[in-house]
Subunit: 303 residues, 2 copies
């Protein structure tokens, strides 16, 4: 059984939320801050508090690399903790390199200290930077999400360029989607082991049409959907990238990690210094409420 | 003074070779193998043996990540050793992620445990995934090489696609090159702090013309040139990507790391098992000879 089938089932049972553990030190309540150890304790508490309400977790390795070797130890321990609780974890590493190197990376992130259930990949160098991961994934049941159309402003620079020649009337991201879709061998759930990263593009009519087009053209690709919440997207925009109530997980990071802060601000209370009342249990409860609200909003919009 | 100026000077003085330390366990002579510690000892010996003949070093992090946390410690120690010897090191990490995340990555690789002089970056997500590195680099004198047109087969999948619209008659990699070239603020040496990865494309007339065109269009970008040696490119092909005898470093990894093996094979001697005569000094000498031969071949071709 592929992890993508397990993820599909998780969405069926617990909704679409992917909890992003991009845990910067300052996202932790002041009283609970204190280096890499505090990050690990925070991650564990948030995982425990959201296990039955989230589809999966995503850990952004950059936040851990920034703390050096000690940070990468916490990264490894966070992945291991999530997996020990029976949940699925996406290593957000956006790797992309040629064949031999890709195999080393696959070894690094599909087994050993940094073993994850899914990785994120960058397609720039071409399909021979993706395929070594795919064959590795198929022998171990793993999966991946390849960057296709992201949700940042800069996505217009290259992902969005109009193509000529055989891809006339398409954009760069469509060429990526088409190749991924061709390579997909759908598992039990109808989706291939490798899906795509397709971000929420909020608001305008044209963008809604585009989202619906992407979802229908790449029906065998499961989507990892960033850009919700902190990046401005709403449940209705995210729902355009879902398919028959499944087919994607929607990531939120800061709005969950910092839910304690939003709750305190809403009540006019201190969020910094010794008078800030938030501790880890408070933050974990707030994160749980944020996940449930997000889950319910997306479920409603996806109907 | 920017690292790109220091690299320019290194090329003036010591030629164009970038020694790639993609040190897989099996690239080390059998007698000297033995886990992460052996990799560090091997890297140190090769650095010592090539310091006066190489322009710089490039460390491919995938090979270290594949050994888990212990491997990343060796990665950090290899970078530190190269820098302690006064040489420049490129962290081959091919990162590419949105603004906040890019800043964390820059912190990870421009300071602390993993401090390098240059990094490699992937442009897929757009210029807002590059710019945070650039502002960070400018305050600390660091540099980067952004993937533009690589040397693997798969580069034809996306990098090479023909564009329409404003970039009619251009390819995706040209859009990347144009944006990088626009953003470049040339330092003392005439090149911006951020250059491009442009691979050797061996052989045909059309490809030689293309290489010459790339070199002349992006005159303010210093090139990191992979694809030499193991990937089939020759000195003449690499020289097409140089400019006035400078403007690029040419990477070789396996042909240097495994030079001991090539020398033994040429003499019909054992390369595996207890009868293989190579030890670390033997391998370091062979690596030095390989670097000098490559340096001289490129110098000759670049005239």
């Amino acid at each position: 059984m592929y992890n993508m089938d397990r993820l599909f089932e998780a969405v069926q049972g617990r909704g679409h939320v992917c909890v992003g553990l991009d845990t910067a030190a300052e996202y932790i309540p002041p009283l609970a801050r204190g280096g890499p150890g505090a990050v690990l304790a925070y991650n564990r508490a948030l995982v425990d508090a959201t296990l039955d309400a989230a589809a999966c977790y995503k850990v952004q390795i950059a936040y851990y690399e920034a703390m050096g070797l000690a940070g990468l130890k916490v990264y490894a321990e966070t992945l291991a903790y999530i997996r020990s609780r029976g949940a699925l974890v996406i290593a957000d590493i956006k790797r992309g390199d040629i064949a031999d190197t890709a195999l080393r990376y696959a070894q690094a992130h599909f087994e050993g200290d940094f073993e994850a259930d899914f990785v994120t990949l960058s397609p720039y160098m071409g399909m021979d930077s993706i395929e070594p991961w795919l064959s590795y994934a198929e022998t171990r049941g793993k999966g991946a999400f390849v960057l296709m159309r992201t949700s940042n402003q800069g996505m217009r620079d290259f992902e969005y360029l109009e193509l000529g020649g055989e891809y006339r009337n398409c954009r760069v991201y469509d060429a990526v989607g088409a190749r991924l879709s061709q390579a997909a061998r759908p598992g039990r759930c109808g989706y291939g082991a490798f899906g795509a990263v397709v971000g929420v593009q909020p608001k305008s009519g044209a963008e809604r049409e585009e989202a619906a087009g992407i979802r229908s053209r790449y029906a065998n690709l499961f989507f990892l959907i960033p850009g919700y919440g902190a990046q401005g997207g709403a449940a209705e925009d995210a729902a355009l990238l879902l398919r028959q109530g499944n087919g994607g997980v929607v990531n939120a990071s800061r709005s969950i990690l910092r839910a304690w802060e939003a709750e305190l601000k809403a009540e006019g209370r201190e969020t910094e210094g010794p008078d800030c009342p938030a501790d880890i249990p408070f933050a974990a409860d707030a994160a749980r409420r944020a996940v449930i609200a997000m889950r319910d909003a997306i479920k409603k919009a996806a109907r």
